[in-house]
Structures are given as C-alpha cells and as structure tokens.
C-alpha cells in the first residue's frame, strides 16, 4: 500500500503565537520502502511521523493510504486502521508495565479481538531472541530486551507499515546497533514498509531512502 503525503502542514497555537511544526510536507511512500527521516531536535520529524501514522491530525493537507484519507474517518475507524495496518516502535519502549512481555506482544491482536498465531509468535520471538523472557514483566528486562519486545509487538499483527521513532535513542550503541540490524533483516524478509525517525546519521544511512527535515520543511536527499 502506497502512502501519499499531500501538502501537509501542522501549526501549533493560533495567530502570531502559532508555531509551524510542518510546512507543506509532500512525499510518497511506496510499499516495501525503508525510509529514514533525519533532522535536528524540534525540526518536526516526530510531528510528521505522528501525522502520517494517524496519531495526530494535520492543520492542512492530507495523508492517503492508497485511496483512503486516514484523517477523514472517526476514532473507531482510525483505531481499527492503526491496529491492523500500523506498528509502532517508540524511543521509550512504552511497554505496558502491568503486562508480561508476551501479553505486551499480543496486545494489538487482542485489541482487534484476535488470538495470536502461536507459530508466528514463536518465530518472531525466536528471531528477536526474547523467547526465554516472555513471562517477564517490563521492569525485569534490560533496555535492549524491552525494545525487542516492543519490536515484536509492532510486528505481531503483520502490519503493512512500521513507524519507529528514535528506536535506538534509549539504548547503548551495542544494543542500538543490534536492534537496527534486526529491524533491517525483518524489513528485508517481510518487505514491510519501515519509516524510521532518527538523528543518528549511521542509522539513517541504513535506509534505502533518506529524507531530512529542517524547520518543518521536508526534503529527500537520496532518491531511490
């Protein structure tokens, strides 16, 4: 599924006090793309990710998934769209502290009233090397393990697109490198679309397409 970002702007506040976080952003994401978006702090990269993933509505412009404008639907439709088509990986891991690793992983399926495919779960956790930690609570895991659980959670529903917001920002360089290698391998194996927000040029270089954003203005530096 292609994603069309059409002339998207986001302004926080109103009138003169308004801050332009995203200024007429325009891009097309093809199915199977691995895209990195780089930019300094406060440049608008997270805002772009939030708008593209449907977490936040733009002030103007539209985001189309195929023919569907994701911001045109109501909360119920948007929620259903996210849990079936989108996987998120956050910098802070954001695992639900009360759930075990396995429960965290299967949560997107449960929210969609589905039960996990045991074989796929085993394969995924094996690939991520967390099969022995499934019954642990988040606070019993290291940062790297938590992020692997978060990756498994993002992948369990076999989404078409994965958004990763600074996925290695909270990890040491070794764990960060391992996590990124895993993400790349999975992306290649599954041909899912992967959009990574980062300010680390080494991570950005791993992507097939690289975009930069400065003061809300988006531009592509490496065309496919």
């Amino acid at each position: 599924m292609n994603i069309y970002v059409r002339d998207v702007s986001k302004i926080y506040g109103t009138d003169e006090a308004g801050v332009v976080a995203l200024d007429h952003a325009h891009m097309t994401v093809h199915a199977g793309d691995f895209i990195s978006i780089m930019g300094p702090s406060g440049s608008g990269k997270s805002t772009l990710l939030h708008i593209v993933s449907g977490l936040e509505a733009p002030t103007s412009g539209s985001v189309l998934y195929g023919d569907t404008d994701i911001h045109a639907g109501n909360d119920r439709q948007l929620s259903a769209f996210r849990r079936r088509n989108i996987g998120f990986i956050f910098q802070q891991f954001n695992l639900l502290p009360v759930l075990s690793a396995q429960e965290n992983i299967v949560m997107p399926l449960l929210l969609d009233k589905r039960q996990p495919d045991e074989a796929y779960l085993k394969e995924l956790t094996g690939l991520l090397g967390i099969e022995a930690r499934l019954s642990h609570l988040p606070h019993q895991l290291s940062g790297g393990q938590q992020q692997r659980v978060a990756i498994a959670r993002a992948l369990i529903a076999k989404p078409k697109i994965i958004f990763a917001d600074e996925p290695t920002g909270n990890l040491d360089s070794k764990s960060g490198s391992e996590v990124m290698k895993l993400l790349c391998r999975i992306q290649e194996a599954t041909n899912q679309t992967l959009i990574v927000i980062t300010h680390d040029s080494r991570i950005a270089a791993m992507a097939k397409r690289r975009l930069v954003i400065v003061d809300g203005v988006l531009s592509e530096v490496t065309a496919q």
Binding site: H50, D75, R83, N94, P97, P108, D112, L137
Partner: protein, 827 residues
Amino acid sequence: MKTYRSIAWKELKAQRVTAILIFIAIIMSTVTTTVVGQSVGILQSMRAEQAAGLNGNRYASFHQLSQEQAEALRRDDRLFDVGEILTVGSMELNNSGLTLFLREYHHDALAMYPSLGKVKEGRLPENGEEIALPADVMQTLGLTAAVGDRISLTLSIARMDGSIPRYEYCADFTLTAVLESNYTGYATGTVDGIVGIGAAKRLLPKEYQLYSADFKTKSRTEFQSIVNELANELGIEEKNTQYNWVLLDAMGIAYDEAKGFSTDTGFSFMALACALVGALMLLAAGLVIYNVLKISVTKKIRQYGTLRAIGARRRQLYILISLQLLLLCSAGIPCGILLGLLCTKGVLIAATGFLNPQLFMVDSAQELSAAIEASRTADVLPLLASVAVTLAFAAFASFPAARYASRVSPTVAMAGRVQPIRRRVKRYKPIRNVEAYYAGLNLKRSPGRTAITILSLVMSITVFVALQSFTGLLDTSSAVRDMHLGDYAVSGEGAGISAQAADALLRHQAVEHLSTVRLSVFLPEEGMAPLPFSTDLMLQSHESLQLAGIDEERLLAYADGLTENDKEELLAGTACLVKNPIPFSYGDMEVSFTQLATDDWITVGERSLRVAGIVDAPVTVNNEGFINGVQIITGDQVYCSLMNDDHFSEVYPALREGADADAFEDWLSQWCAKFPGTHYLSYRQSDAQMEESFAQLRTLCQALIFFIGTIGILNIINTVYSNIHTRVAEIGVQRAMGMSAESLCRTFFWEAAYYGMFASVGGGVLGYLCTVVISAAANDAMQLTAVPIAAIGQASAVSIAACLLATAVPLRGAKRRSIVESIRSVE
C-alpha cells in the same frame, strides 16, 4: 523565601487540582463527621419527642396522692416539670371497647400531653363546670352538642386500692371545646377528656379526690434513686408508681422495671448501632483523605527526591507534607463544620418537612424542628469529636505518604522511574476479553489504592445494610403498635361471638386473617362458680382462675422459644401455657400466691395438661386488664371441650393489602347490628399514625446512607481520576496501538465494575455480620439471622452503578486527550 517550609505553601499553589481534591476531602470528611454526630443527636431527640408525644412528656408518675403529697412533690428541688392531675371519673363509651377518662390538669400538667389539648373548636375549660371532649368521643357518644351547650355524663371513680366502693354519679358540664381526636390511646382502650380545675372538688367526695403527679428528675443518672427516695419520704406504695417506659427507654434512663420490658435494650442498642454506623462513616471519610494524600505525594515524589538529593533530612520532608495538610485542614475543617451544620439543618427540615408533624403532637414542621432543636443536647461534643477525628485521620493518612517521600532513594525519585509492578506471572493463557483482563491487572498495580477505594465502598454498603436492619428497632411506636392483633378488635359482650358469626367475618373478601380469643374468668368472690370443670389446682383465695383458648398461630407465637415437642403437645391439647399471678404485698407483708412451673401437671376436667411454659403476657379481651390469678392458655380444642362452648370472646380481623377499609367498616357495622352484644374498635387510624412516625425516622437513616454513599463516590472519582492521570502515557500507547476510545472506556468501566463487585461481596458479608450483632443486641441472644438479601442486592446494584457513573466523569477528559501528548507525558 525565609524558610524551606514556604515550599509547603508553594507546592499547594502549584498543584492546585490535588490541593483542591484534598481540600474537598477534608471538607467532606468534616461535613460527614459533623452530620453524623449531629444526626445521631437528632435521631435521639426525635425518638424522645415521639415517645413524649405517645405517652406524655414525663419520666414517671405517682398516683393516689393527697393534695399535701402532690404539693410536696412540686416543691421538691430534685424534680422539674411537675404537673398534678385529678381524675374526675371515667365511663365506657357505647360498645366501642374504649373508656373515657375525664381529668383536670393543674399547673402545666396538660403541656406534658401535647396530644390531648389540641382544640379543634372553642377553648379549653377554665373552671369546674366546663369540659372539652375529643371529636371521636363526641361521635362515639352520639353527642350532637355544640360548643356552649350543656352535656350530661354518667361517670364513676374508684380508688386503686379498692378500699372504698366505686363512686358512681351523674354530672353536667358546659362544653367549651371540641378537641382533635387522639388515636394513640386506642391501643390501650383509653381516650381522654379535659375538665376545668375545680371539677373534682365540685363533683367528688373528698376521699376520691386523689392526685396523680407527673414529673421529671433533674438528674437522669439518679432517676431511680430519686424516685425511691421520694416514694420512701412521702410513703408512696410501689404499685402507685408508674414509669413512663416509652420515654425512659427512648432517653436511655435506667429504671428498675425496665427488666420486664422487651424495649429495655432499645437505648443500649441504639447507642451501639449509632456507634457502629458512626465508626463506619468516619472510617470511610478518613479513607478519602488517606487515598488522596497518598496519590498526591506519589505524584510529587520526584520533587521530594530532588530535595533529598540537595540535602533535605527525612524529618524536614515529614514537616513539609504535614504542613501542607495542616494548611488545608485549617481552612477545610471550619468550612466543613459550617457546611455540616447547614446539612444537619437540611436533614432536619427534610425529615420533618414532608411528614405529618402531628405525629409528634405539634402543629407544624417548623414547630417540630424547633422542638427537636430545643431538646438536643451535647452538640459541642460531636463537633469537637468530628474535628479531632478528621485531624487524626488526616495525620494518620499523611504519615505513610510522608514516610514514603522521606525514604525514597533520591536517584530513583529523580529518574522518575515507575514503581515496579508486583505481579506473579503465570503461564500464558488465551485472553478472551482484553478490557476485562487489563482492568483486573490494573486493580493489582496499586493494591493500597484499590483496597482503600473498595473499603470505602464496603463501608457504604455495610452502613446501608446495617441501617436497614436497625431502623425498625429505632421505632418507639412499634412497641405500642404490637400491643394489638389485626386491624380491628371485634368483641362480643355476654355470650360472645358464635362460630357462625366469626366464620362470616373470615369469609369476607377483605379479610385476610382472623385471630381469635376465647376467655373465661372465674372470680374467687363468686366461689369460682359456675366452674364447669373440676381441677386439682389449689389457688389462693384472692386469685382468679382463667381459661384462654387462642388460635393455633397465636398459640405458637406464645410458645416461641419452646421445643418442637412442646409445640406439638400444645397443638395436640396435652400441654398448656400458664400465666402466673402477679405477686404483691400489703405494706411489709408479702401476700402468698400460686406459682406454677414448667413441667408441672394440671388436671382440668378429665384432662391432664403439662405446663409447657410460663408466659409473661396474659391473654386479655376488650382492652381490659389482667385480673390477678392463674391463667391457663390452651388451644381452641381444649377450651371448647372443657367449657362446652365454642363462642369467641374477641376476634381480630386483619385486612388484605389494598382492601377497601371504609366499605369493610360499613359491612362490619351491619354485622355488629346483626349479632347483638358485638362491637368493634378500629386500629387503622392509630396504626397509620404510628407507621408514619416510623417513616420519619427512616428518612433520617436514609440521609445518613446518602452521606456515606457520597463519600464512597468521591473516593471512586478520586481513584479513577488518579488512575487516569498516572497512566496517561500508557493510555496514549494503547491508543496508538489501535485501542479505540470506546475500548479504553470499557477498560476503565470494567475496573469500576470490579470495585463495585468486590465491595458488594465485602459489604454484604460485613453488613450481614452487623445485622447479626444488631439482632443480638436487640434480642439479647447471639444467633444467625436471615440474610438481608434485598438490602444487600439494592446496595450492590447502586454501588456498581455509582462506580460506573463516577468513572464516566473523569473518563470524558481522558477520551478526548491527544494520543501524542499522552505518549509524551511523563508518568
């Protein structure tokens, strides 16, 4: 900033929402403790007012006094509200079963009987020629006289000791007033008329001019000893001392005769029940403060960690937290007291406003409120207690929070690391309902908060269930109401009521149930003649022999507490119950009397009856008293075979729910006309009056339930609010993963439903235990009572509904919150 303590004030200003929540909790707590304290006072006052209205605003009366004795009592400085009454005579009212007593009231004696002197038309009598009669008496007597007319009455009077013959005479009076009917005396078969002062002197020989003096003692605790001293000093015999047990019980004044009455546990029970309810409510209120404070400190833990890191000592953190609480208490407690007093006033107005104030023998709700306000005592004590309890709970509540703040590791606190969840993860099982499952886990993540929230609800349910079971026991009037059977007493003079006539009554469509009594009294002065059966009972010369035959249901009620075998024998006619004579003495000489015991054998006619039990209450008819002697109580079968007579002395029809009582009374009048010698007395109006007074007391209890319910709901709102605000980022992640707003709400609703369900179980069990305790206090015996399923069910349903509603309020904001903002927020 001169001292670090200023941080306390700055923090309060910075965290306005939390400060306001704690402030509200303190106000609510003080309001509740104030209302509880004051309402208990109101309940007590209302009970006393009701009792005073029913049986006179007097503690006791001395009867058969000379004028000198009455004057000596008036002068006695240990007494107050002394009022003298002279009985001028009495007369039976035509076939009504009622006796009219005419009395003259000296000084303020009439004021002690607020139900008597209510003038419907005219004015109260001012001299011995004048009389005032209630409207119902006029109607029963068939008097059509108007105010100002002369009426003639045939009266009689006797001395209580029977030392001189009954004096009968005819007297003329000028009717000066028609009084409001007063039905409270119907249960005992008496109605009262008022004659002016001087009537006794005009109409009675000197030896019949005997006074009764009503009085109260200034010291309640020494009531009995004062009565004993007075009786001793004035030479008043014990039989001439009458205790107003209705009021004494209501006011909790100890007196000797109390042992004989079932209501003697009333006050101690009331005190116990109030203490129980008060304690539960105070606990619930205290838990609110505890909960909010704990949450507040937890939310600010990072700041406390920073303070510790820059060198603050633990003691200083304790002081900081206590100071914040003290600041809020210093503003909240006075506000709470003020609001509590206003609420109490509201409760009083609500309780007295919509019910008939005449139940309390006053003319308006305002008058009733004023009367209750005036009779309330010890208001300051509950107020001080409420302040002390609120402060104590606040201090108690702040301690664990302050301890937590002072002991937290500075690095951990500053890092804002979330407290690890304690959970034993079992083998993964498929999750069918993710919202319910997640809600269940959420309950466990903050067990203290969950426990307190549930506990506050448990308190509410417990109070509701307990109050349901003790409102009945608060009702003073029920003791009077229980004195009669059925809705009517139908008496048969002479031969009595034939079985055929009684059957016609029973078959009437409006009649649900018919209690029956057959009673034959054989007096010693008549040589027991004509005793139709032989007996081996050897009675004293002054004792009567009585044979009573009552219906099976009443017989079994009398036999309550006996064994099943005893009951079977009673029904089979091989055993009987016995009422022994009342012992008495002449001066210092004890008069001997017959005393039968359980398992004695009596031969009556050709039957040998085992005494299955001894009863305290004799069987009487037509509102007549018990003629001292031995009363043998049996079933109808034994009575009929011994007396060879199946006529009833009295029957008591009870009407079906919703039956047309007026139509039945018309029919009953015709029935009486058809069977000469029969007449009936209606308890309908008096019962309605009594029931209304009960409803009034219940209203107050409902107000208490409302207050404790409000506290429970406040706790839930606070908990849900805190839960939402401490899980904002988590909610954001869930929403990002695709949880819809509805699904988010369902998770919180499940959580609320769990609170309600757990609380229902806990509250139900605790409420039942309270019911058992209350029942034990009322019956003086510890035994399991029926589970109050209806009360528990109602409380549970309301609690769960309240939980859901209370959750809906803070959820509205959470639903609308931006997912991105939520994820970015620091928990």
